[in-house]
Assembly symmetry: C2
Homo-oligomer: 320 residues x 2
């Protein structure tokens, strides 16, 4: 059985119910599920004070389960970055642990690859958000589940999506995949936790951020030289923000246009990733290849070599 | 008469009424008011497209009025930063132009002092927000008005405020004043528009940002080495954010405590500056001295030497 530990590194869980439901579902998927002892801890808005959450990270790293899946994001990861024993985390990854999550986990993932080139973590679901919802709350998205199961088995080696403009036909790019939540990633800029990736493939998403705020951060990355230094940028979902009567037609398309007008780096949209129900898994820190044919975009990588040698079936996962 | 030009460098004005009212009031204060030809321009959510707003900046710099007062903030300044002819702006400042505003103007002010040490702009009111409100909308705050008039005459040489903790009695610090809106300032990090001030006095404010977001940006500045490199940090107003049921008591005081726990730099609160009615004027880029006696804090600077030599009355402005 594949061991899977649930932990809560940032914001506190409001209710235990979704965690229990997630644990039950993950067990039904075939995982040997363990819930970290402090997964339900509370201190202010955090899942325990900084020392508690830091200890949980290190405890899981030492135990090195096959999968370390965060229960939720929120805010709290950046509070820990200066104190994390990154070598200890790296040993777990070398031992085979797949760390999984998104949103606030962007800080952990990118802070990690800032120090450990060649190692990766997984941008993917969060236990409570994606596997903990009751049927009344929407249940489990099948694509998210299947993609997660394939990624965790080591079989997933590509994700595909529809690029809506058709303007990138024939594009081929290869580089280190990095990024995640735009606001969380930008909160690492200028700090020792920023991964100085050149020639990479940068993916970004955000939730509840007005398009002008998304644009301001995209332009910051451009002005900081980050966008121009990438082989490609992949934009996921940027929804949830309330429109303003001041917008007068301005929206996320204009924010993307403002970025495209300032860089030669291909900026693709349509990546099925973000604070949305259907999301793929992506290896943060891994070498990936991007191919576009017509409106079909594929991000591919070499699957786990141990599995490849074992003749395991490999999959790519298409979502439109 | 002192010439004063109103311009709109970022977001479009929703109504002309507040601009007309502001112009009328400023004329009553004794200024020779001119409104830039594109102050009411509109493009999407901006006061004209980027070329229009950039041209307005350069046009005003060339005209070099005594005062260049922005009508409002919003978002749009960072779109222009890469294209501004900073030397042209500097010539106007050397010629005596006082550029005034806050919020999005933080980008102009700090981008400017990133290139021109020894020159300054004014963090202070915005024409429509502070002088354009009808009596039904709150009218004009007398402290804001008086402080603005003294600063613009060159007479203002200090602002005082009540530091609420009493924990900084006897503090003395001297350095270059810089900062402004926290989110806008952080959007300059990592770019060529970031002023690399060491040993400075950094002031910060923000509006409608949840305390966890304020904290995340404060910790970013700390992790980037910015906070530790300052002689002092002065926090203004951080209000307007909706509380969340997830907060469980966490608020702006906890965000400030999280910063204080991570730095030896004195972090004072209570600066009367921000998106609030009563705000002082502060010379961004100027050398200032900070004194604290008991709970009384004073930020002082040398007033305009030309006025000093003319024997002009000097003032300090206290607000509690």
């Amino acid at each position: 059985m594949t061991s899977l530990t649930l932990f809560t590194p940032a914001g506190a869980l409001a209710r235990a119910g979704n965690l229990k439901r997630a644990a039950k579902r993950l067990a039904q998927f075939g995982f040997e599920v363990e819930t970290d002892t402090d997964a339900l801890a509370r201190h202010q808005r955090f899942a325990g004070d900084d020392a508690t959450r830091l200890a949980a990270l290190h405890r899981i790293a030492d135990a090195a389960p096959s999968i370390a899946l965060a229960t939720r994001g929120g805010y709290g990861m950046t509070r820990l970055l200066d104190q994390i024993d990154w070598a200890r985390i790296a040993r777990s990854v070398e031992h085979g642990t797949r760390w999984v999550g998104y949103s606030d986990l962007t800080a952990l993932q990118n802070g990690f690859i800032a120090r450990h080139k060649g190692l990766s973590m997984w941008a993917g679901p969060l236990a409570c958000d994606d596997f903990g919802r009751s049927d009344a709350e929407g249940g489990v998205d099948e694509v998210t589940r299947d993609c997660f199961l394939e990624a965790m088995s080591g079989a997933l080696e590509a994700v595909g999506f529809r690029e809506p403009t058709g303007g990138f036909d024939g594009l081929e790019a290869r580089g280190r995949l990095w990024g995640g939540n735009l606001t969380v990633l930008c909160s690492l800029l200028g700090t020792p936790h920023w991964p100085k990736v050149k020639g990479g493939i940068l993916f970004l998403e955000d939730i509840n951020e007005h398009p002008y705020r998304v644009e301001r951060q995209l332009l910051q990355l451009q002005q900081a030289g980050v966008i121009d230094a990438q082989a490609a940028v992949l934009l996921g979902d940027f929804s949830g923000a309330a429109k303003s009567p001041l917008d007068r037609g301005y929206g996320i398309k204009d924010a993307v246009a403002a970025l495209r007008a300032r860089t030669k780096t291909p900026v693709l949209t349509g990546l099925p990733f973000g604070h949305i129900r259907t999301k793929v898994c992506l290896p943060v820190g891994g070498m990936v290849e991007l191919y576009v044919q017509g409106r079909e975009a594929i991000v591919g990588w070499q699957s786990d070599p141990r599995l490849a040698h074992a003749g395991h079936d490999h999959h790519d996962h298409h979502h439109h």
